[in-house]
């Protein structure tokens, strides 16, 4: 649905790599163009009209984000450069100061690198222990396994809302309840979930959450860190300088501003923020629940069609999101991707930066299709047809 909203979809490409980044609707492009063509100015600075417009739009975007995830206050929303940046900000800006040697952080084997590597580095730096919640036989997180993994040293559970390889969505609300019953903080990497299902940070009782604009129809280089006010207020800034200080004197006295401004030192990615604001309005105009329903239906159709092909292995039949991981039997994932590309079908091959997951599923590389609402059955039929002819794959790609 809504294909006409995307200039890029006038071309004959079938874009099935929405987990990597989504396409950008014209309204997002226009919001950035308008900033360039009509009111370029810095935010929070000037006393002239265009600057005031930018200022308003910037803070409006923050409000939109807050409403979109149902944050209590808009000051709980910090603009960052993306999920990776948000994760690093809290791991090194909060947990480094608030965890101590021997404290345990629970992640899983199917996390994205940005929710693994910073924790490993912190483990080296201050001696915390990174431990794994076991995945069940479908590679998913069960409540039982969360309970089993918790010890009296567990201080943080940090997991993805939806994983980028298996595509399973975690029962965040239940996990977060268990976490809080045990005095554990709940960190959620919402990069893959944010554009596909409703997230309510209050209802799910999430302590910190990270996501990226570019995976939710917005620009690259912009993302969000959400934190409950009292926690966010204790995050140490990365960037000291302009915008984030309240005052300083020549003898070295520095007073910082309130959050979130304190955590947004330097001139921010203004066009990114405005673009993200436009993207959120766009999603809300369609309706996230409608998107969710449509994408799930489309995925079920894709699975039912793939099931008819006996030379295809699907690795995550059961999950109920927008992601399908498969291989053509006997063909390396990348070769399949190159083959599909001949027909302008864009898919991702690889281990999707979840490099430790192959310990778990024994298949280190898969072809991943991640659907969006602008995909449709015709595109899936085309894919299925091309796959049906894949006995010619070597002729086509060599």
């Amino acid at each position: 649905m809504n294909r006409e909203d995307f200039e890029i979809l006038r071309k004959t490409i079938v874009y099935f790599d929405n987990g990597a980044t989504t396409l950008k609707p014209n309204v997002v492009r226009d919001s950035i163009l308008k900033y360039y063509d009509e009111y370029t100015a810095n935010a929070h600075r000037g006393d002239y009209k265009t600057s005031a417009i930018v200022d308003n739009l910037y803070e409006e975007a923050r409000e939109k984000v807050a409403k979109f995830i149902n944050a209590k206050e808009k000051s709980e929303i910090v603009f960052t450069s993306g999920t990776t940046n948000s994760m690093n900000m809290i791991i090194f800006g909060y947990f480094k100061d608030n965890l101590k040697e021997g404290d345990e952080v629970l992640i899983t084997l199917s996390e994205h690198a940005s929710n693994i590597v910073p924790w490993f580095i912190l483990e080296k730096e201050i001696g915390i222990k990174v431990k794994y919640i076991d995945l069940d036989n479908k590679h998913e997180v069960s409540i039982d396994n969360v309970k089993k993994a918790i010890t009296d040293k567990t201080k943080v559970i940090s997991i993805a809302m939806t994983t980028n390889v298996v595509g399973d969505t975690r029962p965040i609300k239940e996990i977060s309840k268990i976490a809080h019953d045990n005095n554990i903080l709940m960190v959620v990497d919402a990069a893959q979930g944010i554009a596909h299902s409703k997230i309510d940070v209050q209802n799910m009782d999430i302590d910190f959450m990270a996501f990226s604009g570019h995976k939710m129809y917005g620009p690259t280089g912009i993302g969000v860190l959400y934190g409950k006010f009292d926690l966010l207020d204790k995050v140490t800034p990365f960037n000291y300088g302009g915008g984030m200080n309240a005052m300083f004197t020549k003898d070295g006295y520095v007073e910082l501003r309130e959050i979130p401004t304190r955590l947004e030192g330097g001139t921010p990615n203004i066009e990114g923020v405005l673009g993200l604001g436009a993207a959120i309005s766009y999603i809300e105009d369609i309706g996230i629940d409608k998107i969710n329903k449509y994408e799930k239906e489309l995925r079920r159709y894709l699975i039912s069609e793939l099931d008819k092909l006996d030379f295809i292995d699907v690795y995550n039949r059961e999950v109920d999101t927008n992601i399908v991981a498969f291989n053509i039997k006997g063909v390396f994932a990348q070769d399949t991707a190159v083959y599909l590309d001949k027909y302008n079908i864009c898919v991702r091959a690889g281990n999707h930066c979840a490099k430790i997951l192959d310990n778990e599923i024994n298949i280190s590389n898969t072809v991943r299709i991640s659907l969006s609402f602008y995909n449709n059955k015709e595109e899936i039929d085309l894919l299925i047809n091309v796959l049906k002819n894949s006995e010619n794959i070597w002729k086509e790609i060599l």
Binding site: F332, A333, A349, G350, C353, S364, L398
Partner: protein
Amino acid sequence: MDRDLKRSIILDNYQNANKKYISNGDEFTKINTRNVSCIDNLDIYIDMDNNIIKDISFEGEACVISISSTNILINLLIGKSKEEALYIIDNYLKMINEEEYDKEVLKELLVFDDTGKQPSRIKCATLTANGIKKFLENN
């Protein structure tokens, strides 16, 4: 070389790669060539005796171009001196990068003479060559 012949040589070295196995002996040094694009992952086992490459084998998961080019390259390098091997590798890399190169020494590797035209395949075709080159230069 015509397309069909090239394709059948590439496929044969993929599907029946004769040097695709693990070599465990003490005489072997293992090098890993993890591709930066986080996909191909091959282990290469090299047995150098004085200045001569006595044997090489490889194991791992990778695409058709990676596996096939690795198998062909390895077969060509076995029995060569370090200098001869480096000469072959350098000319192979030149071919892939579409520079002037010495055709004489490349033998079956010539099946990849137009791989450089597919940018996404360049890494696959040069993964092992770069790995072995680095090893030889450091030994």
